[in-house]
């Protein structure tokens, strides 16, 4: 799976560490790290929590409109 660079840059834009984002989403730093590195299939609720913490929507962080 591809790395989630959109999420990584959205987090960087807010100057948040993985640990800080993890706390706001009530998961562990390892989980955030795994989601960003892309070798993961997180639940929609976690994705929504991440989006809210980063001020983005699902489409902005987790949707790829290129076909297939």
């Amino acid at each position: 799976m591809a790395k989630n660079l959109k999420m990584k840059s959205a987090r960087a834009a807010l100057d948040l560490s993985q640990d800080e984002l993890a706390k706001r989403c009530k998961v562990t730093r390892q989980t955030i790290s795994a989601v960003e590195s892309g070798d993961y299939n997180p639940t929609i609720n976690l994705c929504i929590d991440i989006c809210r913490a980063l001020g983005k929507t699902l489409d902005e962080l987790f949707w790829e409109d290129d076909k297939k």
Copy 2:
């Protein structure tokens, strides 16, 4: 959790049964039923598969912008 009526109506608009949608998403009918009834926390990959099968995006089917 609230029922996912956006998903239910998107499926109805295409005249697809839960079973048919389930096959296209490679999950069981029960899983689709649970997602629609809302007492569930599906994975993002399943959500994406459902969106693609129904011709919608994540924001259209799984995002609530009015929440807090």
